[in-house]
């Protein structure tokens, strides 16, 4: 891991696309191992967002794992707090805390809570878990950056089901009103929520039109394509006077055959056999 060796210099050095593919696979193994060990957790929505988070942490974000509260860091806010295993695995791989600690997920006295807790885990910006709150929080960090004339950027990851929450649309309206071009929202659009397909539980479409009508620049990408994600994030940096949303089309449970598009694995851990099969599928 050459990247980790360099963290003391400050800004994290970017990985190549090839190295990010390897990293993404590794994050998936962590996610499955952590949730398997814990015996509970949310694999589906963690696996669907792996590439989104990989591109951010290993390529685009300006951050210092040894100085998690560095004032000029780019902010990554995980609004869909149930994807905590993905964030924990990523933070550990970046060097925020030892990788060994990942297997304490959800255990008594662990600093890796079932849903994120900003007071317990280095690198976690926001306590989440109750859906719908992260975009508002992100507006706050983006406004603070503007007030302080700091040039950090704020990225916030939303679930598609999470967009059922009214607060998301209150915040969508406000971010455009405040012209926050230092704010990027990503919707992990995996199509599934606990009770089934979005289109059956609560219609979200036309999702892109909704964001556009609220005053956002919208781009749509294949959320598992690292190059498409890099391009979308780069274009967002050039967009002035309005926030950008990237609707990332993803597959829930991506990378583990029996979890893909299987809503049963929204919030269920693999059993011992499933764990073996999954890790085999994700082997290096």
């Amino acid at each position: 891991m050459p990247a980790v060796d360099n963290i003391t210099v400050g800004v994290f050095p970017p990985l190549s696309v090839k190295d990010m593919e390897i990293k993404a696979r590794k994050l998936r193994r962590h996610i499955i191992s952590m949730i398997g060990k814990a015996g509970s957790g949310h694999p589906g929505g963690s696996l669907s967002a792996v590439e989104i988070v990989t591109v951010l942490y290993f390529r685009l974000l300006r951050h210092k794992p040894r100085d998690p509260n560095w004032p000029n860091r780019d902010r990554f806010i995980l609004s869909k707090g149930h994807a905590a295993p993905l964030l924990y695995a990523t933070l550990a791989e970046c060097g925020y805390f030892p990788i060994d600690e990942l297997l304490t997920l959800r255990q008594l006295d662990s600093h890796l809570q079932g849903h994120t807790d900003r007071q317990l885990t280095p690198g976690v910006e926001m306590s989440a878990g109750a859906l719908g709150q992260g975009l508002s929080f992100a507006i706050g960090t983006a406004l603070a950056g503007r007030l302080n004339a700091q040039d950090y950027r704020t990225y916030v990851l939303l679930g598609d089901g999470e967009c059922d929450e009214g607060q998301i649309w209150e915040a969508a309206m406000a971010a455009a009103h405040f012209k926050l071009d230092n704010l990027v929202a990503i919707v992990d659009n995996n199509g599934l929520q606990i009770d089934g397909w979005n289109r059956e539980v609560m219609t979200l479409e036309p999702l892109a039109d909704k964001w556009q009508a609220f005053g956002w620049k919208v781009s749509e990408v294949n959320g598992h394509d690292l190059n498409q994600l890099i391009t979308a994030f780069s274009e967002a940096k050039l967009n002035k006077g309005q926030p950008t949303v990237i609707i990332a089309h993803t597959i829930k449970g991506k990378g583990v055959s029996f979890m893909e598009n299987n809503v049963d694995f929204h919030g269920k851990a693999p059993d011992a056999t499933q764990l073996r099969v999954a890790l085999k599928e994700l082997a290096e």
């Binding site: 603070a144 950056g145 406000a174």
Partner: protein, 315 residues
């Protein structure tokens, strides 16, 4: 009669003073800046004022994000909406997050008057008081309001300061010094203690004056910090006066009375009465009419005192 002063206006003007002293102070409102009086700050510091529109949940989340980035946010709206409209946001984004957000709400209680029950916050103290880590203050006059707001700005962690709509008499002197978590002895007495908050402190003093003439010597405590509660002052009152009456513009459930009762039951059980709203909603009406109809006047306090003194003397 003491001078009547608006607590809301005092809040708004104190914010402006604080804004001059501390550039990190930012203020958020939800389309009620003219009523909460954050309008003064908005006029003086437009770049540090964020009107979030009629979207309290979003306002609370933005305040949390600002605090997480080193700003010192004050967020204001009516007490009925904050925490009522956005309890989960206050719970997760502020309380569970331990963030340095100051919530200053106005129009607490039924003295809101004619707007009726949708605008009368009578559950807010129970809701906010249930959240670990919150400091809860209910000032009794404008002098205490200014100091409580200043103290909130100078302290770390989440604060909730509840103000009412009407002007209230000044009951503290200009030399008053507000201390967080300390009951203020407004009047010494030996027969019974009246513990009150907010608008009910003035009513308690008035009741005590009347009862003096009837041979009952009341101690009066202003328990302006509802959380953390001054347990020592309550135990002392129970031990030394042997009877307690609480008075608040809130439901009996989960407010001052029930919190004091917990302390009394554990530390020194004595007869108690609660002057509070009894498991009901009020209605539209003039503030004074409502206070009378729902049992929140000096006369109601007097009756409660008579009742507990009788119990005390017969036990």
């Amino acid at each position: 009669m003491a001078e009547l002063v608006s607590l809301r206006e005092t809040y708004g003007k104190t914010l402006v003073e604080l804004g001059k002293e501390n550039r990190d102070i930012v203020v958020l409102d939800a389309d009620l800046a003219k009523s909460t009086m954050t309008k003064f700050f908005a006029a003086e510091f437009p770049k540090r004022f964020f009107d979030c529109g009629i979207a309290e949940q979003n306002m609370v989340g933005i305040a949390a994000g600002l605090a997480a980035s080193g700003k010192l946010p004050f967020a204001s709206t009516f007490a009925v909406f904050l925490p009522g409209r956005c309890f989960d946001q206050v719970r997760m984004s502020i309380a569970q997050s331990g963030l340095n957000v100051k919530l200053v709400v106005t129009h607490g209680g039924i003295s809101v008057g004619e707007d009726g029950i949708s605008h009368q916050a009578i559950e807010d103290l129970a809701l906010i008081g249930s959240l670990p880590g919150f400091t809860v203050i209910v000032p009794a006059d404008a002098i205490e309001t200014a100091q409580a707001v200043r103290l909130a700005a100078a302290s770390r962690g989440p604060f909730y300061i509840r103000l009412g709509r009407p002007k209230l008499p000044l009951i503290h002197g200009r030399d008053y010094h507000f201390q967080l978590g300390k009951a203020v002895t407004m009047r010494q007495g030996e027969d019974i203690t009246i513990i009150a908050i907010g608008a009910m402190v003035a009513a308690a003093i008035s009741a005590a004056n009347s009862l003096k003439g009837q041979g009952i010597d009341c101690r009066v405590l202003n328990m302006s910090t509802l959380k953390p509660l001054d347990e020592a002052a309550i135990i002392n009152a129970a031990t030394e006066t042997g009877a307690i009456v609480t008075a608040e513009e809130h439901l009996e459930h989960g407010g001052l009375g029930s919190e004091v009762a917990k302390v009394v039951a554990r530390g020194c059980p004595v007869p108690m009465e609660l002057v509070a709203i009894k498991d009901t909603y009020a209605q539209s009406g003039k503030p004074a009419e409502l206070m009378e109809r729902y049992g929140l006047t000096a006369k109601d306090i007097e009756e409660a005192v008579h009742s507990v003194v009788k119990k005390k003397n017969s036990s």
